[in-house]
Symmetry: C2
Subunit: 234 residues, 2 copies
């Protein structure tokens, strides 16, 4: 009887390959099948770029297609197919690593895989350094001190009014993927008198990353899609 | 002229020594002076325990006293003294590592040091895996999926009413150091119908860590002080 393989959901950190954990490095080196989510069929994977120099020729790399399309049925079908690919490898006894940038439990594709995985399989989750911590390190300013409150909000604002009291009640507000609604966010910060307490960090920890302290100076189309905004409200 | 040393604020991760990053490991091994914050004079340091096996006899370890006392003047004086100790090492040209559990920019003593440090010194911040990500990995449940909102709140509730709408507006609420007000939190969760969606994680990633799914079964004094609660509100 074949022993079923283990699925490792691994966070490879925010982008700097040195921000991989010792545990992630050990498991990635020892796992025969490396899978990464890609938004375009056979497209680029940032997570793969992070670990590429560690991989050996006998390791198999599978790019799993998780399209970011509006059609729910199509999205769901692709997630099912990707999960099925993983399950087939596990069932023939091979361990599989699923790599995600940052942390696998934080805004990550691995959540969808976990959700669709049949019961009874062996799964391990290896946490990673997330982009919010890496961004705070880049600006050398604490995200929150002891006793302070943090809100992390994806920048999809159906209701800007709701954000007013979030800014009032939290010491620090992080807006993820802020490039999508930057104009509206800048207007709101201006209205709340918080525009000087906001910083944008593009591609935290990357060699080509950028810290933008004068947030008013930037335009939507000038900001990288891997960007977040940290606002210290106090 | 002596070249001034560099201060490294380093997150050693949540407790599992393998969750150290490659970068943290490299810098810790190469830095002559290792400093750690301790709550009691010469007391235990969890961060030091994490890296202890990596240290060599020629590295100096300094325990810096950051007492958790109510007297603000005393607390401030001790923070000043600790920072001064670091500055003196830097000024004679030695690099200094300041180790913190988890991430140095997230509820960490390193924030106080950064705040008190004279201008013009060379500082680098090395992010680490935080306890919230490690806790989510332990329970193998995403903290937040894409598009979801996260609130991280220290469990010091002056105003329980405020928490009602935080639970209503956020997909996931993490309560840090929850042992301090566990009874009140359990009452609130019960009232909100969320008690079955709450999990307590003690000492995330530690070999002696514990996941408590039946949160109603525990008492305040039965929960480790390094514990947090994750509540999925949806």
């Amino acid at each position: 009887m074949t022993q079923i393989g283990t699925l490792y959901g691994i966070g490879v950190g925010p982008g700097d390959p040195e921000l991989l954990t010792l545990k992630a490095a050990r498991i990635i080196e020892a796992t025969p099948v490396i899978t990464v989510p890609v938004a375009q069929e056979d497209g680029e994977s940032h997570a793969l770029n992070v670990v590429e120099s560690m991989l050996k020729p006998d390791q198999r790399v599978l790019k799993l297609h998780f399209p970011m399309v509006r059609d729910i049925a199509e999205r769901e079908a692709k997630r099912q197919a990707a999960t099925q690919t993983i399950v087939e490898e596990l069932q023939v006894g091979r361990d599989v690593a699923f790599l995600t940038e940052g942390d696998p439990m934080f805004h990550s594709t691995f959540g969808y895989v976990l959700n669709l995985l049949p019961e009874g399989l062996s799964v391990e989750v290896i946490p990673g350094v997330s982009s919010i911590m890496a961004a705070a390190a880049d600006i050398k300013t604490p995200l929150v001190n002891a006793g302070q409150r943090l809100a992390v909000i994806p920048a999809v604002f159906e209701n800007v009014d709701e954000l007013h009291h979030i800014f009032a009640e939290f010491d620090t507000v992080v807006l993820m993927k802020v490039y999508r609604v930057l104009d509206r966010v800048l207007d709101l910060l201006d209205e709340l008198g918080l525009i000087d307490q906001a910083v944008i960090v593009e591609r935290a920890s990357h060699a080509e990353g950028r810290v933008i302290k004068d947030v008013q100076s930037v335009q939507d189309d000038d900001v990288h899609y891997m960007s977040l905004m940290i606002v210290h409200t106090k």
